[in-house]
Symmetry: C2
Subunit: 346 residues, 2 copies
């Protein structure tokens, strides 16, 4: 294959590629403090708990959600470099605990085999232990939040937790439904993914006593960023705009999971490919050849680029929300993160 | 068999039989308000959530834990009949949500088939949905607590939740361990059962602004009552002091669960019955005949009456803790509940 054809035309050729590194660098010291808190508070005298928790927590991932809490707190106090971040650090660790608890339960619910490049915890310690350690981390999150004495931040994260659980149930009951409309799909990912991004940023702002305008802007940034990330992830699962497949590409299809690119392709091939989709998604019969064919249809109908267009719009909305914040390195880094959310799939 | 021999000698022949009715009657109006709150807050736009929640919530059970929250709030305000119970009612509903969430997860973890006289929810809606609806109810509990604006009560129930989860994991890893010592067993039931009784009562006291002495007395009452209830339950599973078996008798043995009567009997038949215990508990091979034999050994070695003696001591400690409270109908009803905890197994 000709090297020139390796990359399909970009959905947004003018979009800055952005990066997540600028933010990670700025937040390095704060995130080290968050990591220390996480490590300290996942301890228990019941030996398997820290073992299992460490397995998933130390695998790390990007710590994107607590990073958002810190970034929100820092950007809201850009004019107060000596602002007290004690509460925000604890809220950031709480956010990561909530996220980790949902991952543990998700993997049990989906029967997933891998998580963060490692064997999923429930395959090592059993589903029962994974469920209970998830419960423990969730409870620990609330214990940590109580320490901040910030009942408003607590309310934000409690509500987010109930929204997430409802989103999970909604997804579970509609996961293989080819008739899912786009609105319902967006409702699912808003609840499952974007809500915690929103709450992470909002609670960081609340944790440093930001004014309502700033707080609401940061919440809006988080929500839109979360949607952009999820939609770009959905596109990446079919290779994004690149012809080269990423290492986890095909996972959604293999699990028969209905995502935006698939929904769009199903709609755009209505009357032509119904039997194929019915067999592979509703009928749960999927081979590697089927994935190749699904990908052809999804890329060929423009479903991937339409998904990336939508992701781009959410990223733009995220950046727009930041408008009310004073300019500075934190704001700039958040803008670059929004661009990166989409460009990594382009 | 002669009717006279149907009842074995009582462990505590002088103990008042007590009852749970006096308290239920006193708390009738408050508990109706709690029930209304529970029904209202378990709603969700995701249809399966209220369906599953109603299945387990409306099966009812004794609502013992929220009843404790109400009783604590009322007995701490015996001299203020017009005290505002809004927060206590919400805390009571939160306590029931936390309890229900743990039941849903427990049944998945244990693979239990029945709950509160009904088919267990996970057998109807699947384990995945049960786990996620449990998460939802747990999150809802915290949302409800946030509404009370009582960060201290929140801290009590957050800590209780993490203690419960740790107790569950500890039990899971030691459930079939015949070498479990009594101290570890008491640690497990303190965490799994008594902690929520303690937190339920304590948060009720905090919710009405009770003084530290009253609050701590009510916590102590709840903790000791929880231990008394659990030990009496353990005894009941082998028929208690009666020769007639209750309807759920044998469940613990059938699940190979190590409880106090079994631990005592194993210790008291050491060297004689090791092979029997090893096969039935460690080896997981149990017939109905095995249950009859286990029960003979457990009753014959006095393990049941020793368990009831221990339960009686905790019930007495619960009543003693109430000493600092002003006399009145609520205090009297709590005393009768402590007696009932044990006598129902005698």
């Amino acid at each position: 294959m000709d090297a020139v054809t390796l990359t399909a035309p970009r959905a947004h050729p003018t979009r800055d590629r952005g990066d997540a590194e600028a933010l990670a660098r700025l937040a390095k010291v704060d995130m080290a403090a968050v990591d220390a808190l996480i490590l300290d508070r996942m301890q228990s005298s019941v030996p398997v708990i820290p073992l299992l928790a460490e397995h998933i927590v130390s695998a790390g991932g990007k710590r994107l959600r607590p990073l958002l809490t810190i970034a929100a707190a820092r950007s809201a106090t850009a004019d107060r470099p000596d602002a007290d971040l004690t509460a925000a650090l604890k809220l950031a660790a709480s956010v990561e605990f909530i996220h980790t608890a949902t991952l543990l339960h998700d993997d049990v619910v989906d029967g997933s085999e891998r998580r963060r490049g490692k064997v999923a915890a429930h395959l090592i310690w059993g589903s029962a232990t994974s469920v209970l350690v998830g419960d423990f981390l969730f409870a620990r999150a609330f214990e940590l939040m109580v320490e901040t004495d910030q009942i408003r931040a607590l309310g934000i994260l409690a509500q987010a937790s109930s929204v997430i659980a409802q989103g999970e149930v909604l997804q579970l009951t509609r996961a293989h439904d080819l008739n899912l409309d786009q609105e319902t799909y967006l409702r699912i990912i808003s609840a499952k993914t974007a809500e915690l991004f929103a709450a992470a940023a909002e609670s960081g702002a609340v944790g440093v006593g930001a004014d309502p305008k700033t707080t609401s802007a940061l919440r809006s940034y988080g929500l839109n960023l979360g949607l952009a990330f999820q939609l770009a992830d959905d596109a990446l699962d079919y290779g994004g705009s690149s012809e080269a497949l990423g290492k986890n590409a095909g996972d959604d299809f293999r699990e028969g999971k209905v995502t935006m690119p698939l929904l769009l392709a199903v709609a755009r091939t209505r009357g032509r490919e119904d039997a194929f989709w019915d067999r592979t998604i509703n009928g749960n019969q999927r081979t590697d050849d089927d994935f190749r064919r699904a990908r052809e249809l999804i890329v060929g109908t423009g479903a991937v680029s339409a998904t990336l267009d939508a992701a781009g719009e959410y990223a733009d909305a995220a950046k727009t929300a930041l408008g009310v914040l004073p300019n500075g390195e934190w704001k700039a880094a958040l803008e670059r993160l929004a661009d990166f959310a989409v460009s990594r799939a382009s």
